[in-house]
Amino acid sequence: MNNSVRIAVDIGGTFTDIQILVEDTGQSFAHKTPTTPEDPSVGLLKGIREASELFSFDIADVSALMHGTTIATNAVLQRRFPKAALLTTKGFEDVLEIGRHVRKEVYSQIGEERLVMVPRRYRFGVTERINVAGEVETALDEQAARETIEQIRNEDISVIAVCLLHSFTNPAHENRLEELINEQIPNAYVSISSRTSPQAREFERTSTTCLNALLMPVVRDYLDRLDARMNEAGFRAPVFLVQSNGGVTTPDIAREQPVRLVLSGPSGGAKAAETLSRQLDEPNLVAVDMGGTSFDVSVVENGATRLRSEGEIDGAPVRLPMLEIRTIGSGGGSMASADSTGRLTVGPQSAGAVPGPVAYLRGGTEPTVTDANLALGRIDPEYFLGGAMPLDADASARAVADRIASPLGLTPESAADGIVRIAISDMAEAIRLSLFEKGLDPADFALISFGGAGGLHTALVAEELGASRVLFPRSSGTLSAWGMLFADIVQDVVRSRLTPANHEGASTLKPLLADLIAQGAGLLERSGVDAASRHYELAFDMRYPGQGYELGVEAPDADLDDSTMTRVVERFHQQHKVLFAHNEVDVTPDIISIRLRAIGRLEKPDDVVFKPEPGEATKSNRRIYIGAGWHDVAVHERDRIGVGDIVNGPAIIEESHSTIVLPPNWTARVHPTGVIAADRETG
């Protein structure tokens, strides 16, 4: 018998979530351990050791470790950047700081902070110029470049980003600068833009390249420590790191391209949503993840989460494929306030984890959405985090009464209910807009509820939205780690080259595609993927000539002949019509970039049938306020509800880290996977 287990670890701010998958049976187990912020690898190893004892497996039997890490993300958010330099084409040293110069705060008198990763004093122009056709218009002045690099060395800087105009068409000058830097500053961390993000648009490429350079020492240090601890523990299994594109990569590649980890937070959840979509045969889902401070919306369409070709962190563009997520600042910690004009607002200020809601008794004074739920009886103060953290529901009720109800002349329960309803209307509008901007209709989607605060709100959000089905997976707080168990190795490579989408374009791009396939195959080879498990997906960024934005269009296969091109052009016209309501079928579109996704498929576990715990599911009755009145409702123990059993709303279903509120006119059933599917009676 095969004893091997696959482990996924998701390191959050407070807890490190661990999922253990027994590969032979498909059974999975969850474990949680406190995060060790100063060195997350300590908590990681500790958690794995604890799990190996709890679930009786041997460290030697671990076949793979899927590792979600926020080490890169946190370095950016906390500005823990090393001193770095940037080399640009002379005359364009400020592109990084100028950005796209649009502001978010329309009436502000003080310009909002722009994330400038390299200060002007360390940005240096180099005499050189490649023109739009990729020809050398001004040769690289090597003598001057050497002097600049010497200057950088004298500043004691060893982290260097290089971004020259049109280097995605002709990387010769960037390559040469890299050589010169390596000659003059041994062991420097160098990131050149033609390797990190070879795409047109100089600001976005510079931003991505600078982030990559800055993260190189940060990620290397972490991986070195992780490596050392793994060796000590006798851990021999390959480690894979979760990337922003929903796939994983090897530590080796991540050391060179750490920027690919920077927006990886939502990847585990998206993989979980895709996996559940397949298991439940629900191809169209809106995944909503509500935690303490934010509400994330992502859309699964035909079984796959949408990707976008660019994201941003703290306003800095990251021009790499990533999952498309809409985030609003609405969570359990969102604070309610009543202003002098009689207006009741909820958020965007959040009490966060510290001081947290009033009920935590950690100094919070303003009632939050969590306090409102406590005041309405929807959360059991004795059973928060499975009873690990008792809450003071009376303090919540008092805060709602004093701060909201009495200044606005409301009853305490209508004030508390109002706080929740306003938060819900915000969330529903965020979902409506997410779908609307893609030309999709909420009525065609079921919602799937993630996050600690999801269970309390998602059915109510569905009502507000006009959707009639909500899915509640088990252990919604640790789904991100569970999702990582299902990830593949994914290496995205890209190259910008303006060509018409026709026969001529196909012949121009053919050698480029061969390069990309060689590059992708090389990365998969390095990741240990055998030839049979390699898979390639080809796509293009396309536009009508003169448009300033591109659409991503997938090719039918990773081959590039005239018939592929014909299919791609048809798809482009079609997609343009769906998204923008018009197209111009007589116009030959442009191709701006060619993209290749090199995938190394990892074996997927079988689906497992959920087995309920023995015992009576209905554990007590509770008085809750819902649907404009107080009701005595049954409280069910989630793990005891059998497959196919029905629970009618209004009701409460509890598990240790989350509470589901089932409103009146809703019926819940347990699916064989253990997911609860709730449907609203309509008509």
């Binding site: 364009f92 700081e97 329309v106 047109a200 606005l408 300033g548």
Partner: protein, 547 residues
């Protein structure tokens, strides 16, 4: 009927979302780059009487412009009794509530049964509406008749029946009938989306509830605005600033504001501003209103939701026939020149009223330029761009460098994409050193943008300002650096150009260099900390010679 604050807030969310969905539809379905990339459009929801309730204004210049246009239409052109279910009213006429001819406004009343419950409105900047220059931006126009096609307020659709003939007439008068036609259809379709959403809200909450909630939403903003004004000391505050010239004559154009604060109300009098100009820099009153509100909202800095309630405590006065209250047939295409300056001047007056709380002048110009190429095969191409400059220093912070501020909010196009699409090669895009006004807090730097023409036959046009009258400093802070424009010919000779340039012939090898204005400084420069001074030198924002 009394509503609880929860119903009001939920309906507010729904109305804002209705405006936002119209906005997304315009973005999703329009054709031209001006709408898709410059996002030059806005959407709004009005109550049944035409009072603005919710907006998705992407640029302050659009704030309130639709509201006062609608007010004008209802008061002087098409009274509300003549509106019925299925109607769409259209206008682009600056002298009937509009701004300049490319901005086409459309309004659709929304009914639930017999009752009018709301009005949906959309403003879209159309690429070209005819007139003396491509883009309807003729810097030499002296009458509105040279600026393009004019649509007085009229029914584009009556009782659900679309008047195709109006559309035909309009499209026959544009240089870009396909793109403008596409944007026009998108504008109409988006109104229908907005109307459907508003009907859904009214059905769900009831017409009477919606009406009352709209009133309350406005009342809350009015209350917040009154509270903000009441915190300003009563008194009379004056300020003036100048536009360089109108492009026809060299005379500086004076903008003068007198602010009178009494309790929780404010009167803004622009009566002493210059007479209307011969060139197209004039503002109609609606445009001026919009600029005054923008200046006040920025100076108050209080995140008050913008709707009709905000405007009620404020009275604006002007003298007809002045540059801020232009009378037909004065040309208005480049109205942003005076518009930005009205924002600068209003903020200057607010700075007198709220010393230590208002920033010095931002660059105050939409630095607009265009190059028309005539290719060998006879085809034509227009490269159009807008730049920004430095922000005025705030008492607590240096001004931002090269960042959109004030009346507009624009994005720059990537240099590499411009070079892919047009025969130009950039030689510089950087901050212009030493252009930040000196002060205890330094003004933001302007931008330096230079490019070579790579085409044998082209013409260059520009609508710029702040060459001779750079942005003011406050409280001892100095002026920001002026804007400038030059051309280095292929033979090496250099020509300094004026701020307004019409169709200057240029050809391969000529290099155009634009420098935009820096922001004004705040406070005495001698009080700048050594640390800030050293940082400026290290980063080269200020060079040795000037520190």
């Amino acid at each position: 009927m009394t509503l609880d604050p929860i119903q009001i807030e939920i309906i507010r969310n729904a109305l804002v979302a209705a405006a936002e969905e119209m906005s997304i539809t315009v973005w999703r379905t329009s054709r031209s780059s001006i709408v898709r990339e410059n996002l030059d459009y806005s959407t709004a929801v009005f109550d049944a009487d035409g009072q603005s309730t919710a907006q998705s204004a992407r640029m302050p210049v659009h704030l309130n412009s639709m509201a006062s246009c609608l007010e004008d239409i209802l008061a002087h052109h098409i009274p509300v009794e003549d509106w019925q279910d299925g109607d769409i009213i259209i206008t682009n006429d600056p002298y009937s509530g509009g701004q300049h001819l490319p901005d086409v406004m459309t309004f659709m009343p929304v009914y639930l049964g017999e009752e009018r419950i709301a009005i949906a409105g959309i403003l879209v900047h159309h690429l070209d509406v005819g007139g003396g220059a491509p883009g309807s931006f003729d810097p030499n126009a002296t009458e509105i008749f040279q600026e393009g096609f004019r649509i007085p307020p009229l029914h584009l659709q009556r009782g659900g029946v679309f008047n195709k003939e109006v559309e035909m007439l309009f499209l026959r008068n544009t240089r870009e009938p396909e793109k403008v036609g596409g944007d026009f259809l998108s504008q109409i379709a988006s109104l229908e989306i907005g109307a459907a959403n508003l009907r859904r809200v009214a059905k769900r909450y009831g017409a009477a509830t919606l009406r009352e909630a709209s009133k309350q939403i406005q009342a809350q903003s009015e209350g917040a605005m009154r509270a903000a004004i009441a915190s300003i000391p009563d008194g009379r505050y004056e300020f003036e600033d100048f536009v360089d010239n109108d492009g026809i004559t060299e005379t500086p154009i004076r903008i003068h504001v007198t602010l009178v604060v009494t309790g929780d109300t404010m009167e803004v009098d622009l009566g002493e501003s210059a007479e209307q100009a011969a060139g197209p820099v004039n503002c109609t009153r609606n445009m001026t209103n919009s600029a005054v509100f923008c200046g006040i909202m920025m100076a108050i800095d209080d995140h008050i939701p913008a709707n009709a309630g905000c405007y009620r405590p404020i009275t604006i006065k002007s003298t007809p026939g002045t540059v801020v209250d232009a009378q037909s047939p004065a040309p208005v295409a480049n109205r942003m020149a005076v518009g930005h300056r009205v924002v600068n001047t209003t903020m200057g007056a607010m700075a007198q009223a709220l010393p230590g709380r208002v920033a010095a002048a931002y660059y105050g110009v939409s630095f607009v330029y265009a190059i028309g190429f005539e290719h060998d095969d006879g085809s034509r191409q227009v490269y159009f761009d807008i730049e920004c400059g430095g922000w005025g220093a705030h008492p607590t912070a240096d001004g931002a460098s090269g960042f959109s501020c004030g009346f507009h909010n624009i994005s720059n196009g990537p240099v590499e994409m411009i070079e892919i699409d047009y025969p130009v090669t950039f030689t510089e895009y950087a901050f212009a050193n030493n252009t930040g006004g000196r002060g205890r807090k330094r003004g933001g730097l302007g931008l330096s943008r230079a490019f070579r023409i790579d085409s044998p036959k082209a013409t260059f046009t520009a609508n710029l300002d702040r060459f001779s009258n750079p942005p003011y400093g406050l409280d001892g802070g100095e002026r920001g650096g002026p804007a400038s424009l030059s051309i280095t010919r292929a033979d090496g000779s250099v020509e300094e150009l004026k701020a307004k340039v019409r169709s200057l012939p240029v050809k391969s090898g000529d290099i155009v260099r634009l420098q935009t204005a820096g922001g004004g400084g705040y406070g005495n420069p001698s009080e700048r900390t050594t640390e800030d001074r050293e940082a400026d030198l290290l980063d080269g924002y200020v060079t040795e010679a000037r520190s």
